[in-house]
C-alpha cells in the first residue's frame, strides 16, 4: 500500500497502478482548510484481470445407434445372396442429382400432397395370431403376413365367387391356428373356408400332407367343393378294397386325402404302418366324436398330426361334455368336464369361431317357420288314444323295472301313429303335404321333406308320385346318391325330395329349394336346424318356408314345447354372457312326457 501527499482545494484522482504518477492535488480556500491540509490517504487494490479464463460447460450429443432386433422369413433365403440394391447410390451413382431424375419428377414442398394418393379402399382381412401363441417371433410371423385379399390377388388364387367378408374372417381365423373349431351355423360355408385356408397354407409351404375326415355321404361333396374352390390341389379319396386303400395311405406326396369315418377306423393299422404324419387333420361334422369312448373318437385322437381342426355346426348337441370331447381331439386334457362352465367358455373363446346367419348374412332371404298343428284323422285319433292310454298304463305297471328305453318305445310308437294310422294308412300330415305340394309344384318350386323313418318316406312317395318325388336316405346306395341330387336339381318335373334326417341333414347344398317340411320332429333342435339349412344357405333363391308338422294334442306337441325350450338354450350357448347348458332331453323330461315319475323318485316318495 502506498500513500501520496495532497495539496490544493480540488482533488483530481488518477487511478492506476503507479501512485507516483499522482502529480497534482488542488486545494481550494474554504473554511475547512485545516482538514483539507491533512494528508490524503488512498488505498489501492489491484486485480489481475488478464489471468481469469472464461468457463465453458461442454454438452456431448451422443449418437449411439438404437438397439435393433429382427428376424428373416423363410422366403428371404434365396434373396440373402443377392447383390446390393440396384437403387442404392453405390450402384446408381452417389447422390443422383435431381437433373438425372426421370422426366415426370416435380419438386414438392414439404407437406404438399402427392398426385396419386392411396389406391381405392379395399377390405383388408388380417391374420391375427392366436392368443396362446407366446413366442414373439411366432406372433410376428402372422402379424406381418399381408391381408388375405392381397395374398389371394398376388398369388392369382381365383375364386368361383367372391367370398363374403365373414368367410375371409373365417379363413384368417383358421390360418394361424393349430387347434380350431369352426362352428358356423349350417350354410355359411365351412367347407369353402376350410378349403381356401388349406389352399393358402399349402401355398405358404406350411402344409404338405392333409387328411380330411368326413361322413361317408359327404365325401363326394368335399371332392366337388375342392374342384370348385381349389382346382389346382390334387385330392385323393380313400376308397376301394383293402389293398388299394393300404396303397393310398402309404403314398407320398399326396397333399390332400379324404377319408370317411368308417374307413378310417378300419384302416387304423394301415395309417400307423405307413408312418404318415399329417400336417393337418380336419374333422368334418366333428360331433361324430362327441362320445369320448367311441372307436371313432379313439381312432381320430390317435392320428399322428400337427394341426387339428374340427368343423361342426353343433359343437354342443346335448351337453358341454360334447365340446370337451371334441377338445380331446384338438388339445387333449385342455378341458375337463368338471371345470366350471364359465371357465370352459373362457378357455375355448380363442379356439372357436361361430357365426350365425342372422348376424353375418343380413341380406340373406328370410327363413320363415310355420307350425302346422294338425288334427289327427278320426282313424288316427282312435289308434293314438288307444295306444297312449294302453302304453301309459303298461309303463305305470312296470314299477321299478321301468326304464327310459320303455318310455322311448312308447314315444316312437305314438309318433308313428301321428304320421300314419297303422290300421288304415290315414294321415293328416300327408293330406296337408299333398295340398301344399299342389301349390309348390304349380309355381315351379321344389321342396324337401324330412322324416326320421325311411318307412314313412316310402309311404309318402306313392301318393305324391305326380310331384316326381326323389328319395335320399339310408336305403339308397351311396353311389346313387349324387345322381339323385343331380336329377332333383336339374329335372323340372322333380318337385320333391324325401330325406331322412340321418342321410340328408349334413353337407348337402339344396339352396334351390324354398320349402322344407319336417314331417316328424327329431329329438334335437340342432339336427333339425342342420336339415333346414340344406335349403336355407348361401345362394338361397328366396325365402325358405319351414313347415313343422305336428299332430295337435299328442306327444308331438309336448316334444315340440320341450324342443323350443332347447332351441332357446342353444342360442344362448355362444353368447358372451350365456352359460352353456344341456340341450338334450333329460331323463326327467322324457319321463315327464307322460307325467311319469322316475322309478327311484317314486321310491323316494
Amino acid at each position: 500500500m502506498q500513500s501520496s501527499q495532497a495539496s490544493g482545494a480540488a482533488i483530481e484522482f488518477v487511478t492506476g497502478l503507479q501512485l507516483e504518477e499522482l502529480t497534482t492535488v488542488t486545494l481550494r480556500a474554504t473554511g475547512w482548510q485545516g482538514t483539507l491540509e491533512r494528508p490524503l490517504e488512498v488505498d489501492v487494490q489491484g486485480w489481475d484481470l488478464t489471468s481469469e479464463a472464461i468457463k465453458t460447460a461442454p454438452i456431448r450429443l451422443t449418437s449411439k445407434r438404437p438397439k435393433v432386433v429382427g428376424f428373416s422369413f423363410p422366403e428371404a433365403v434365396p434373396l440373402l445372396s443377392q447383390p446390393d440394391p440396384n437403387l442404392s447410390s453405390e450402384q446408381s451413382g452417389q447422390g443422383e442429382p435431381a437433373s438425372h431424375a426421370e422426366q415426370g419428377s416435380r419438386a414438392v414442398a414439404p407437406g404438399a400432397s402427392g398426385k396419386a394418393g392411396p389406391p381405392p379402399k379395399r377390405k383388408r382381412t388380417r391374420i391375427k395370431p392366436p392368443v396362446d401363441l407366446v413366442k414373439l417371433e411366432d406372433r410376428l410371423y402372422f402379424v406381418l403376413q399381408p391381408p388375405l385379399e392381397t395374398l389371394a390377388a398376388s398369388s392369382e388364387l381365383g375364386f368361383p365367387f367372391e367370398p363374403f367378408p365373414y368367410q375371409m374372417d373365417g379363413i384368417a381365423f383358421l390360418f394361424p391356428r393349430e387347434t380350431a373349431i369352426l362352428a358356423d351355423e349350417m350354410g355359411l360355408g365351412k367347407t369353402m373356408q376350410s378349403i381356401t385356408t388349406i389352399r393358402m397354407l399349402l401355398l405358404a409351404g406350411q402344409l404338405r400332407n392333409i387328411l380330411l375326415v368326413c361322413p361317408k355321404p359327404l365325401v363326394t361333396n368335399w371332392v366337388r367343393e375342392f374342384s370348385l374352390w381349389a382346382p389346382e390341389i390334387p385330392v385323393t379319396v380313400i376308397e376301394g378294397d383293402s389293398a388299394k386303400r393300404q396303397f393310398i395311405w402309404g403314398q407320398k406326396g399326396v397333399p390332400v386325402r379324404i377319408a370317411n369315418y368308417e374307413l378310417l377306423m378300419r384302416d387304423n393299422a394301415f395309417i400307423h404302418d405307413s408312418g404318415q404324419h399329417f400336417d393337418l387333420v380336419v374333422l368334418d361334422e366333428a360331433q361324430r366324436i362327441k362320445n369320448r369312448n367311441s372307436t371313432t373318437a379313439e381312432t381320430v385322437r390317435a392320428l399322428p398330426r400337427g394341426r387339428s381342426w374340427a368343423l361342426t355346426g353343433t359343437p354342443i348337441e346335448n351337453s358341454v361334455e360334447d365340446l370337451v370331447n371334441i377338445f380331446e381331439f384338438l388339445a387333449p386334457g385342455y378341458l375337463r368336464t368338471d371345470m366350471p362352465l364359465k371357465t370352459i367358455s373362457k378357455a375355448t373363446r380363442d379356439h372357436i369361431l361361430r357365426r350365425t346367419k342372422d348376424k353375418v348374412l343380413t341380406d340373406m332371404p328370410p327363413k320363415m317357420y310355420r307350425d302346422d298343428q294338425l288334427d289327427l284323422t278320426p282313424a288316427q285319433n282312435d289308434s293314438y288314444r288307444a295306444a297312449e292310454d294302453e302304453g301309459v298304463v303298461q309303463l305305470e305297471d312296470m314299477g321299478e323295472t321301468l326304464t327310459i328305453q320303455h318310455v322311448f318305445e312308447l314315444v316312437l310308437r305314438l309318433k308313428q301313429i301321428c304320421n300314419f294310422d297303422p290300421a288304415t294308412g290315414a294321415s293328416c300330415k300327408l293330406q296337408r303335404l299333398e295340398a301344399d305340394m299342389e301349390e309348390i309344384a304349380a309355381s315351379g318350386k321344389k321342396a324337401i321333406v324330412f322324416s326320421q323313418w325311411v318307412e314313412t318316406l316310402e309311404k309318402i312317395a306313392d301318393p305324391l308320385d305326380r310331384f316326381g318325388p326323389m328319395q335320399y336316405h339310408g336305403r339308397i346306395p351311396s353311389k346313387r346318391r349324387d345322381s339323385v341330387i343331380q336329377q332333383f336339381k336339374e329335372d323340372p318335373s322333380k318337385h320333391l325330395i324325401l330325406m331322412s334326417y340321418g342321410a340328408g341333414s349334413v353337407g348337402l347344398n339344396l339352396q334351390f329349394c324354398e320349402y322344407v317340411f319336417l314331417f316328424d320332429r327329431w329329438w334335437n333342435p340342432a339336427i333339425e336346424d342342420q336339415a333346414i339349412n340344406r335349403a336355407h344357405r348361401i345362394g338361397a333363391a328366396g325365402a325358405v318356408t319351414v313347415s313343422r308338422m305336428m299332430a295337435a294334442g299328442t306327444i308331438e306337441e309336448r316334444i315340440h314345447d320341450v324342443l323350443e325350450q332347447k332351441r332357446e338354450l342353444f342360442n344362448q350357448l355362444f353368447a358372451d354372457t350365456g352359460v352353456p347348458k344341456q340341450t338334450g332331453l333329460s331323463r326327467d323330461e322324457i319321463f315327464g312326457l307322460f307325467n311319469l315319475a322316475q322309478p327311484h323318485k317314486k321310491h323316494a316318495a
Partner: protein, 176 residues
C-alpha cells in the same frame, strides 16, 4: 423378376418415445424380413440443440440408419410414410421414397410431424413418391422395379403391418 421393397416407419409414443420398424417384402407383398428398434428417447440436450431438426435426426439418421444397417435382405427401394426418415439419405447410401401416410386415429403410436426436407416427386408403380432432392433414384431403375411389382400391390398397407408388429413387440405402446 424378384423384387425386395423395404417399408420403414417410425412412430412416436407420447410417453415412451420413438419406435422404428422395418419390413422387407417381395413383389407380392409377402414378408421377407422384419427389424424393429427398442424405444428411442432423445435427450433434453438433443431436443434443445436439434430444435426443429430433431425428428430428422432421430428418425432418419438414428433409427432408419440403424434399421437398414441391420437388415440382411437388401431392398431395391425403401419407402417410408414418415417424412423425417428421408434424412437417412443425407447420411447413407440408401435412396428412400416417402409415401403419404394413412393416419389411424385409433392408435397410440403417431406418425412424427412433417419434415422441412426438400423433396422431389417421382412416379413409382401406381403411386407418387417423394425423394430427397439430391437423392432421386434413376428413372430406369424405378421403371424396372415398377414392372416387377404386382399390379395389386397396396403401398400403404405394409406400414399398417409394421405398426401392428410394433404394438405386438412393444405391448406398452398399445392403446387402451
Amino acid at each position: 423378376m424378384t423384387a425386395a421393397l423395404g417399408f420403414l416407419t417410425v412412430r412416436h409414443h407420447a410417453e415412451h418415445g420413438y419406435f422404428g420398424g422395418y419390413l422387407v417384402v417381395n413383389e407380392m407383398a409377402r414378408p421377407l424380413e422384419f427389424q424393429c428398434t427398442m424405444a428411442v428417447r432423445p435427450s433434453r440436450a438433443q431436443e434443445v440443440l436439434y430444435g426443429p431438426t430433431l425428428e430428422d435426426f432421430v428418425c432418419g439418421e438414428q433409427i432408419a440408419a440403424a434399421l437398414l444397417s441391420k437388415g440382411k435382405v437388401k431392398p431395391d427401394l425403401c419407402l417410408t410414410d414418415c417424412r423425417p426418415v428421408l434424412a437417412l439419405a443425407q447420411v447413407s447410401k440408401y435412396s428412400i421414397g416417402y409415401v403419404r401416410p394413412v393416419e389411424d386415429q385409433h392408435r397410440s403410436l403417431r406418425t412424427p410431424a412433417e419434415s422441412r426436407l426438400q423433396t422431389r416427386a417421382v412416379d413409382f408403380a401406381a403411386i407418387e413418391i417423394e425423394c430427397l432432392e439430391s437423392r432421386v433414384p434413376p428413372s430406369d431403375a424405378l421403371s424396372n422395379l415398377s414392372s416387377a411389382v404386382h399390379p395389386s400391390f397396396d403401398f400403404e398397407e405394409p406400414f399398417l403391418r409394421i405398426v401392428e408388429a410394433l404394438e405386438e413387440a412393444h405391448p406398452i405402446t398399445k392403446a387402451a
